[in-house]
């Protein structure tokens, strides 16, 4: 009989779950979405995934080696980070960029802050945002049959109808991990195994739906809500990113507040800001609040909660706050307050914004019609108002057309204000000045909020001045540059969508001029 008995304090048995097992279960849960991503996007998606995962694991192993720490790469957390990052990327991301992102996630976000369990923001999302800023061109390239095309979420932001079914299945244009059905299966699988916390994902989705329903302008229209839920990484974020252990709070109430914050912020950005990528930012911002939440929300042991004391004193009636779960109250209140505050500010500033918009417009007219002192609105616009103009310019609207008059009252030129809803990040509006001879005097943007360093370059003279003095009936966009002819325009490199929208808008203005102003007999 072996007499060398072990002595230790209890417990003497342990559960079957280890760190490694949890991590690989998460990988397993992501597998369906990964497989569908590869099937839909082809082998290039697999390269992105492999590059990201390999870079993540290698960099963690290397970091441990260099810093002489015990090897931690085997615990599987690097695999999860690498895979999650890859799933948030477009399949057209070059593999080396995905790898750079993974290295950033592991070395800078995770290891530099103490490794597993110590990072303060989600490594995969931080890396995604890092890549968005560093490689905006490659990061926002979503190709369909080799041609850049908008993702459903971009179309949704532009107010267009989207195919919810294909978004749900994951067959629409977008990031690799965009199959909602697969993500749902994986997420609910993790929830069933108690690996992710219900309070978090539920409050994310509830907060999101509540805010969107109340302040989204379309009520609780199921189609509208479904489209928003299926796009822009909401499901991936709610189930896999927000529930990240070390960047979420400790207590149950904390989970609810944190989840609600993400949902509400995500919806807020959708309603009042630009759509693409906003969900990543709302999670990262909520991550930053976690230490604060953990500092203030420390749940007391059961025996010290008010309810327990009341029961001990013989009160049996449950207090109201117990009958309506507190998290629900907190969540609803937060959503309402945030929404009301925002819409209040919006109402208050609405008139001023309108006035400023008009002033901006007037200034643009003055810029594009030199020599004009007063502007007279042309009634010919009325019949096109609020409807897409023509058939060949995309979603383009003619807002206004004016005739510029000098001091003496003579018409010196015309200006047409056009909005295209096909910008990369929503609407872009510009005024096009046309001289009496039909040649363009100049163009000016009154609304342009595209990707900095890419689409925003459309507002620079390099692009705008190309139109000056040209007298044609329509322009042709050369997205790779090298224009030689009068009717050819060089696109802004890396911002094909923006350039195309701008050229279409100018073409619509010219068409309107020739048909309704010059030729229209007025």
């Amino acid at each position: 009989m072996n007499e060398k008995l072990h002595i230790s304090s209890g417990p003497h048995v342990r559960s079957g779950w280890t760190t490694q097992k949890i991590m690989f279960t998460v990988v397993l849960a992501l597998l369906p979405a990964t497989v569908v991503g590869v099937i839909v996007n082809g082998w290039k998606a697999l390269f992105v995934i492999l590059a990201s995962v390999a870079a993540a694991v290698l960099s963690e192993a290397l970091f441990d080696l260099v810093t002489k720490r015990p090897p931690t790469w085997k615990d599987g957390s690097a695999v999860v980070t690498g895979l999650m990052l890859a799933l948030t990327l477009s399949a057209d991301t070059p593999a080396h960029i995905a790898a750079i992102g993974a290295v950033f996630a592991i070395i800078v976000v995770k290891c530099a802050f103490g490794g597993l369990g110590k990072n303060f923001i989600n490594p995969a999302l931080a890396a995604r945002c890092f890549l968005l800023i560093s490689f905006p061109g490659s990061m926002t390239k979503f190709l369909v049959d080799g041609v850049s095309a908008p993702t459903p979420i971009a179309e949704l932001a532009a107010g267009k109808a989207v195919n919810i079914t294909s978004m749900f299945l994951g067959t629409s244009n977008g990031i690799i991990g965009s199959s909602i059905i697969c993500l749902l299966i994986g997420g609910l699988f993790l929830w069933a195994l108690d690996i992710i916390k219900g309070q978090i994902w539920i409050s994310v989705l509830v907060g999101f739906i509540l805010f969107l329903g109340i302040f989204g302008g379309q009520g609780f229209d199921p189609k509208f809500l479904a489209a928003h839920l299926c796009g822009g990484g909401v499901v991936l974020g709610a189930f896999f990113m927000a529930t990240d252990y070390c960047t979420s709070p400790v207590s149950r109430l904390g989970h609810t507040i944190y989840g609600g914050m993400i949902g509400i912020m995500g919806a807020l950005f959708r309603v009042f800001g630009t759509a693409a990528d906003s969900f990543s930012y709302s999670i990262i911002i909520a991550n930053l609040f976690v230490p604060l939440i953990d500092h203030f929300i420390i749940s007391k042991p059961y025996a010290f909660r008010k309810h327990a004391e009341k029961v001990r004193n013989g009160e049996t009636k449950k207090p109201l706050s117990k009958r309506i779960p507190r998290p629900v109250v907190v969540l609803t209140a937060t959503a309402l307050i945030a929404g009301l505050a925002l819409s209040g500010v919006y109402m208050l500033t609405k008139d001023r914004i309108e006035a400023e918009k008009a002033a901006k417009e007037m200034e643009a007219y003055r810029t594009v019609v030199p020599g004009a002192e007063t502007f007279e609105k042309l009634a010919a616009v009325e019949e096109f108002k609020g409807e897409v103009y023509g058939t060949s310019f995309g979603r383009v609207y003619i807002n206004e057309a004016v005739a510029g008059k000098d001091d003496a009252g003579n018409t010196v030129g015309y200006a047409v204000s056009v909005t295209s809803s096909e910008g990369y990040d929503g609407d872009l509006t510009l005024s096009i000045g046309i001289g009496m001879d039909g040649a363009i005097t100049s163009i000016s943007f009154t609304e342009l909020h595209e990707t900095p360093g890419k689409g925003m370059l459309a507002g620079e003279p390099l692009f705008m001045d190309q139109f000056k003095g040209r007298n044609v009936t329509s322009f042709k966009l050369l997205k790779d540059g090298g224009s030689t002819k009068e009717n050819e325009i060089d696109g802004v490199s890396g911002a094909t969508i923006t350039s195309k929208a701008a050229v279409n808008a100018v073409n619509a203005a010219l068409d309107f001029y020739h048909k309704s102003i010059a030729g229209g007999g007025r």
Binding site: L5, I7, S8, S9, H12, S15, I22, Y245, F304, R305
Partner: protein, 419 residues
């Protein structure tokens, strides 16, 4: 046979026998010394060999009475004779319990006669018989309830006599359907007693959890069950009360579970106090063939005490011997990673603590935060957090140490203040 003078919580008993005295089974060999103390009863007949320090279950060297067993187990006269309980006064009942040396058999070993004398007996609303097992692996309560249902309820009725306003509740986990059935049958016609099936979970057998289920009230560990109108006793203790009061039989043997992966024939036994662990094991089939014995626990795998040797005597409170071939603690050391902040420990804590933050505060030696903000001293040391932790952090182990440190610091401060 070795009888430690301290089988209970409180002051060790005073020996009343000396070397070469002849004793009988059921004889008091050491008397309670002080209010919180208990008699020690010989479980065999024979000659006192020595009163000396011996290694005990806790690993400490304690004063023990060593008796050479003559193998006859001749009992003190009068044991087993039934008497009419209804004629006894309350004081006589408590005295009988005290004389029998009865202590809580759930593991803590608190003298039962003291428990039966709360400040205000009329304020006691529930006398709870704890039929939930203390821990996984142990089945002694189950077995006892199946075989001695009516005797347990008789004991509970005796206890209820002391508390006129109380209801008797027997809590049994639902994974013991046979015990529930037998007890329910035995409870028929007993007006003041009801059987309460409980959810099967750990630590259901903890006093706190049981009271919570019965009364709906949680209470801090600094409060006693009596403060919330409850008296909780293990079914084994209640059985012993019946034997003592009705049959004048002192407590010198009890039901115990012998179990664990390393044991050839896991079983429940009636064991005489003072028997050496090795003898119990060998008399019951020994170890499984080809299995390496790594750990022997007095009690179950969660809160059980690891023995350093098999040559120690079982005592009144030894409700189980668990023999393991795998040491979870040893394996945990190999699998340990950084804390994931996964929150599993928080979700399993029966007290509603935040073990994750407690461990952090303990690591930073921020005992102020540990005690005041995180209520760290409320920890009941059930081991659930360590059990569940996927990163294999030594949580319970840390909390035990920190609690000891804080308590020691408090005592030192008090002693300093007294000077």
């Amino acid at each position: 046979m070795v009888f430690p003078l301290s089988m209970h919580i409180g002051k060790p008993a005073k020996p009343v026998v000396k070397r070469n005295d002849l004793v009988l089974a059921g004889q008091v060999i050491a008397e309670a010394d002080g209010f919180i103390s208990a008699n020690v009863i010989s479980s065999c007949s024979g000659k006192v060999k020595a009163v000396e320090k011996r290694r005990t279950i806790s690993g400490a060297l304690l004063d023990c009475i060593v008796i050479e067993n003559d193998g006859l187990f001749t009992e003190v006269e009068g044991i087993g004779q039934e008497r009419d309980v209804s004629k006894l006064t309350n004081a006589e009942i408590v005295q009988a319990v005290k004389d029998a040396g009865i202590v809580g058999l759930g593991g803590a070993g608190f003298p039962t006669n003291v428990k039966l004398m709360p400040k205000n007996p009329d304020a006691i609303r529930f006398v709870i018989a704890n039929g939930a097992e203390c821990e996984p692996y142990l089945t002694c309560n189950d077995r006892l309830m199946q075989e001695n249902a009516s005797e347990i309820l008789d004991g509970l009725e005796i206890m209820l006599r002391l508390f006129p306003n109380a209801e008797g509740v027997v809590g049994i986990e639902k994974n013991k359907p046979e015990a529930i059935r037998t007890m329910q049958k035995a409870a028929e016609g007993r007006e003041r007693i009801r059987i309460l099936p409980l959810k099967t979970k750990y630590p259901q057998g903890g006093e706190h959890n049981l009271i919570q289920v019965v009364t709906g009230a949680d209470y801090p560990v600094t409060m006693l069950p009596a403060d919330v109108g409850c008296i909780v006793s293990n079914v084994g203790t209640i059985y012993a009360v019946n034997r003592a009061v009705r049959f004048s039989e002192p407590l010198f043997k009890h039901v115990m579970t012998l179990t664990g992966e390393a044991v050839a024939e896991p079983c429940n036994l009636i064991v005489r106090d003072g028997t050496i662990v090795r003898e119990i094991l060998e008399a019951n089939g020994g170890l499984k063939e080809g299995v390496e014995l790594k750990k022997v626990l007095a009690g179950g795998p969660m809160m059980g005490f690891a023995l350093g040797s098999l040559d120690v005597p079982v005592v009144k409170t030894t409700n189980g011997l668990t023999m393991l071939s795998e040491d979870g603690f040893e394996n945990a050391g190999k699998q340990q990673t950084a804390c994931l902040r996964c929150g599993r420990c928080t979700s399993v804590c029966p007290t509603g603590l935040l073990p994750e933050l407690m461990a952090e505060a303990a690591e930073l030696k921020d005992y102020e935060r540990y005690e005041k903000k995180l209520y760290g001293l409320e920890c009941v040391q059930c081991g659930s957090c360590s059990f569940i932790c996927p990163a294999r952090r030594p949580l319970t182990e840390t909390f035990k140490r920190v609690k000891a440190e804080i308590m020691a610091a408090k005592r030192a401060k008090q002693a300093g203040g007294a000077k």
